[in-house]
Amino acid sequence: MNKPIEIAIEDLDLGTPAALSESTVTVHIDGKAVDVPAGTSIMRAASLAGTQIPKLCATDSLDAHGSCRLCLVEVEGRKGTPASCTTPCQEGMSVKTQTPRLDKLRKGVMELYISDHPLDCLTCSANGDCELQDMAGVVGLRSVRYEEGSNHLDAGKDNSNPYFSFDASKCIVCSRCVRACSEVQGTFALTIAARGFESKVSPSEENAFLDSECVSCGACVQACPTATLQEKQVIDLGVPTRKVKTTCAYCGVGCSFVAELRGDELVRMVPDKQGGANAGHSCVKGRFAWGYATHSDRITRPMVRETTDSEWREVEWPEAIAFAADRFKAIQQKHGIDALGGITSSRCTNEEVYVVQKMVRASLQTNNVDTCARVCHSPTGYGLKQTFGTSAGTQDFASVQQADVIMVIGANPTDAHPVFGSRMKRRLREGAKLIVIDPRSIDLVKSPHIKATSHLQLQPGTNVAVVNALAHVIATEGWIDEAFVQERCDVASFNAWRRFISLPENSPENLAEISGVAAETIREAAATYAKAGNSAIYYGLGVTEHSQGSTMVMAMANLAMATGNIGRDGVGINPLRGQNNVQGACDMGSFPHEFSGYRHVSDETAREQFTALWGVDLREEPGMRIPNMLDAAISGNFRGMYIQGEDIAQSDPNSQHVAAALSAMDCVVVQDLFLNETSKFAHVFLPGTSFLEKDGTFTNAERRINRVRPVVPPASGLAEWEVTCALSEAMGYTMDYANASEIMDEIAALTPTFAGVSFDLLDERGSIQWPCNEQAPEGTPIMHAQRFVRGEGQFVTTPYVPTDERSTRKFPLLLTTGRILSQYNVGAQTRRTDNTVWHAEDILEIHEADAELRGVADGDWIEVASRAGSTRMRAHISDDIPAGVVYTTFHHPVSGTNVITTDNSDWATNCPEYKVTAVEIRPSSAIAVGM
């Protein structure tokens, strides 16, 4: 198929979802034969045959509903006029979509609609973007004969949601919003209340949207065919006139969006139906919370200052670059080559990251480059590389649709990865079993029509104990998939593992007390996981941010290999990545010991390739990790740093240490959108670009490389990679790219897993999952299908070692942290949007018994104290967590950093143990300092 046709088809709404049947039937639509999978609706078959049957209640993202009755057709040999959206094709069926009788009926239906609709089309905010209007035209309605009668013209508006408005007078009660909220989002916030003519859309028992269960995902707005549910931006600015496809920059789901603009003004972000990760769905952040990009706090001009206590001085780009280069050069002269380093950002594009690490290695001539992925998912990279051979998740998101058992460990997908969470919920509603391993009852467990088969509510810090116990049961009950192990895995390592895991010390009975999970519960969960057709594990920071993070990742990998749950649809080990480009930042050579594609800097072949292409000698010994750089700074040997888009003084747990280190440097260069904690220590501020200004790629948690396309020009005048290149050049090493596409070409040339990737291919295919190379020219949705990347799957014994962070008499409670839907990380973006209506403050969840003991009532101000310090927030008494554990989010900068202790970190990767901190809570009368 050539390109233009494909684009035309992309925009087409086929009316009903695709049928999955393998057998096909032939039907005749107005005489034209078309082959479709059995079970396809007449409406969809007609669309495929090029005939658009009028419709209002049908849309291809939702199951057919059959309520508007515009799509009636005639079927030869059948009485009546069936609705084409709800009638499946049958072999040999002959359908007429246009007859005088149908014309009259459709006009009649339309006449009824319009008899209860405001007649202000020309001034309506949806004028030109309204299906009701379109259909009135299509059916040729010219007049409405009904006199003015009962109507809903005074039905009123609900403007409570900050981003969209609900104008009930325009509602045609097609239920698309209700169905979108249930089927697509899985929140079930909307219903049709009352009956007959009184039927109306109602958020949770006739609440306002804002007070309802609504999570503001926008699916209903997207589904609404009229102006009833509409983005306020469209009402304010008007219907968009041009579109650019791009990718959300918030989380690791990596949703595709169509940015819709009027001139250069962004009107709305519409989730892309073609999006590989999101298939037309979105969450509140990507859909609505992009206003920060034009927030007045943004810095758009470069700034420098002599010392961190002097005022910032706005300068032109050349001056800023020269300033930084001079200082960097001076540092290297005085303190040696290795006194400099850089940090790449997992918020930035692959191209931007690649260029920064290249600058550090080639221009600064050091391997001192690291990334903040260290603070979240480095155990994933390590653990999966050891066992499977690749530092990445094994599946695509769509794989979850084939899972029979879904095990969620230390993750909260409905809040942190909402669009994938919705997919998962859909599968769970279809009957997949759910095992949750988490100290809290995460929202998934409380979602409508979903209940967990098992909830292993463990004590924080005992993940490995619990997964070992699961594996123990599987090994000792004889539930191992011996054939898979023999054929696919390293048998010696398996045998060693089996001996280890079968030891009585790993039995659920033995581990019940430490983990707080009853042996019986573990045995049941083990049976559920091992005996299903397809079992899949999804995990998040609750796994990695522990002193045994890497062990835990390997323990899960063992479990999957032992039960044969690897290498096909519906199974696998799937990290849910935090930031949008964690995967990509890691892939791009952001670690001190690895070039792009995870090849060690000491690897001769790899280094030679880079040397050849970059035209410069490269160091073979690994550089320093972030903690080492900071330590070296404090001891005076490390003096300058290039920090790309990360607020390390804010997001790094041990903020005092970071502050001390940064203060000790002679030149800190910060490239970011806003001034932040880190920039307080900076000498050079290089204004960055928001995702709306970037040209490049992000790689999401399923290894999917998505295009980020410039929607508006860079506010600062330069792309981020151009700035990096300018600095490199000023340092004496030229990186010469005409555009971002050339950077990707270089990445492809130097990175085996990216060998086939190019912007052209991405534009053509929409997105690609790496590895993409000669063996897999179209990318690799599911990894390790025939064999593991490392050859044979490697079992690793995973003894449980309790964390040193234990509750003590002084700090008797264990604090664990998480995130919520409407805010993102430390909130630099989301706090600069209307999302604040949902999360005004961080709140501490505490069990009733613990609260009572301390005289804390629901809503009281309390003080949370740890060895590191203390903060104040409000308490919420909750039965989501067991006694002995408290939980909070840290989306507001002030609250978190003071408390979380990080004396502990993952043994293999230094990933800090964010998820367990011993604390004490006491009532506090003082007013909070937070925002």
């Binding site: 309520s67 508007c68 006029t81 239906v109 009824l112 009904y146 009668g149 009660v173 009352a194 029979d404």
Partner: protein, 526 residues
């Protein structure tokens, strides 16, 4: 010992049957409470059994006060003689209603001694497929309104494998369901209720036969909330049936496991529509589901489900006990067996008449019903409930059967006939039909949700307008859209009474014209 029989049916209770029973008992008589014979104008109809041969004689309209002087005498004016010989009963051919009014509805022994359980026993000796076959051969069609062949419906369900409830894991228990539609919402119908109050075991037996035939393990009775007495009797019967092994694990010692629960309806007419009933049974608002999928393939909780009316299911035990051939011999064309007609409205002798298909409306209304109660001339008869068409006085010779009524543009529905005398205003009736649709519409589809409201408005326009042609055209166009466009028969059939009134009684729609005529003559009554 003399045994007295006093009905406990709601129709008898409303005219003092309880007091009568109490008075008899106070006199030391042995009283058995029964269902109603269905001769409603005679209620409370009290019977006494001959102590030798059990022959039952009766007294009509008995009041407790009549008993103060002594027990009822054969010389009394209200003495009816042998009840079964009353013309109204003698001409009936009772299959479904064979025990109603005769037995104690909640006495299992009474049930068995009057032929109960013979059908189930017979069925359990047969293979499931031959039971389905027998039902097919009997020619039984659904009595809920649509008249769909019951055997074919059962066959479809029998061919499906049981499945877990939708949303349950693949290894969850698998089910098929028998759902009895006891939402009886049609105006002027009461046969479901009287059967449930008068012979509940018959319904349970029929359900068990259906379960055996299609391989179902669970049964539900969706029972109208306005029927508290029926709910009580059915609940009592279910308990007793379980105790007897008629329901539960291995019914009558067979391998058939089947149990029944009652769900009280949501109180709206459209919940009687089968897919709305399923929604309601699943705990949601009763709105109609588009078909396909057919409930027989994906019904209650996504499992294969038989949905039948009370009378359909209650026909099955006697069909099996007496043989499908005997049943199929009755009736005409593809209307086989008996139909339980319900005579209501303005009629002298209202009640239940179970006879073979083919009897004329005239015979039912004038022969058995003896014409209007008011004594005024009959103007119209609405057949088949609130969505049924009107027959004019001239059209009453039509045989009461699916095909012949369809040829008249009418339908049998649930077998109700509502009689109107000449005081009725058919324009008001047409308006009422639209109003009923406004009230009862589930609101899912546009032709019915908006159309019914517009229907009332257009009829009002038509009646108030001095140029009614435009309004009439609009009304006819609207009826067309509703008929052909509605998702279910609620909106789809509402035009039937409207158009039948408009077409057959056009003069009733010419109010303004009449008023103008009258005004022209100088006589104004306003």
């Amino acid at each position: 010992m003399t045994v007295w029989f006093v009905p406990r049916d709601a129709a008898a209770l409303s005219v003092g049957a309880d007091a009568v029973a109490a008075a008899l008992e106070a006199r030391g008589e042995h009283v058995v409470r029964t269902g109603s014979r269905g001769l409603l104008w005679l209620e409370p109809l009290v019977e006494r059994a001959d102590s030798r041969d059990g022959t039952r004689v009766g007294w009509s309209n008995v009041q407790a006060g009549d008993l103060s002087e002594g027990v009822l005498s054969e010389a009394a004016a209200n003495f009816l003689g042998i009840v079964e010989e009353l013309d109204y009963l003698a001409c009936q051919n009772r299959w479904i209603y064979e025990r109603v009014g005769i037995i104690d509805p909640v006495d299992p022994d009474d049930y068995v001694s009057h032929g109960g359980m013979a059908g189930l026993q017979r069925a359990l000796e047969m293979s499931p497929m031959s039971v389905v076959q027998a039902v097919t051969e009997s020619g039984l069609r659904g009595r809920g309104g649509a008249g769909f062949p019951t055997g074919i419906k059962w066959q479809t369900v029998a061919e499906q494998a049981p499945v877990p409830h939708k949303g349950d894991p693949v290894d969850a228990p698998r089910h098929k369901y028998i759902c009895v539609n006891a939402d009886e919402g049609d105006s002027g119908t009461f046969a479901d209720r009287m059967l449930m109050e008068g012979d509940p075991f018959c319904l349970l037996e029929g359900m068990a036969i259906a379960a055996h035939a299609v391989g179902a393990d669970r049964g539900m009775i969706y029972l109208r909330s306005e029927y508290p007495a029926a709910i009580a009797v059915m609940s009592d019967a279910i308990e007793k049936a379980r105790a007897r092994g008629w329901l539960g694990e291995s019914i009558l010692g067979s391998s058939c496991n089947f149990d029944v629960t009652i769900r009280v309806g949501a109180g709206s007419y459209v919940c009687g529509e089968e897919t709305a009933m399923l929604e309601s049974l699943e705990g949601r608002r009763g709105t109609v589901r588009a078909k396909p999928p057919l409930p027989a393939i994906e019904g209650l909780f996504g499992t294969p489900t038989v949905i039948n009316n009370v009378l359909t299911i209650a026909s099955v035990p006697s069909i099996l006990a007496r043989g499908p051939e005997a049943y199929a011999e009755l009736g005409q064309e593809r209307s086989r067996g008996t139909q339980v007609f319900q005579l209501a409205g303005n009629i002298a002798r209202g009640g239940i008449v179970e006879v073979a298909f083919g009897i004329s409306a005239h015979e039912l209304i004038f022969g058995l019903g003896q014409g209007t109660k008011s004594g005024k001339p009959l103007k119209a008869v609405q057949v088949g409930g609130p969505l049924g068409a009107y027959l004019t006085a001239d059209a009453l010779q039509v045989p009461m059967a699916y095909e012949s009524l369809a040829a008249e543009g009418a339908m049998l529905g649930h077998g109700g006939l509502v009689v109107f005398d000449d005081s009725v205003d058919m324009a008001e009736q047409a308006r009422f039909a639209m109003e009923f649709c406004v009230e009862e519409s589930c609101g899912k589809c546009t032709p019915c949700r908006i159309g019914a409201v517009r229907g009332v408005e257009v009829i009002d326009d038509l009646l108030a307008s001095d140029a009614p042609e435009n309004a009439e055209q609009l009304l006819r166009d609207l009826c067309d859209v509703m008929t052909q466009g509605s998702l279910c028969a609620m909106g789809g059939l509402t035009p039937q009474p409207v158009l039948s009134a408009l077409d057959q009684f056009p003069e009733d729609f010419k109010r303004v014209a009449v008023r103008v005529d009258v005004a022209a003559q100088g006589v104004v009554h306003e």
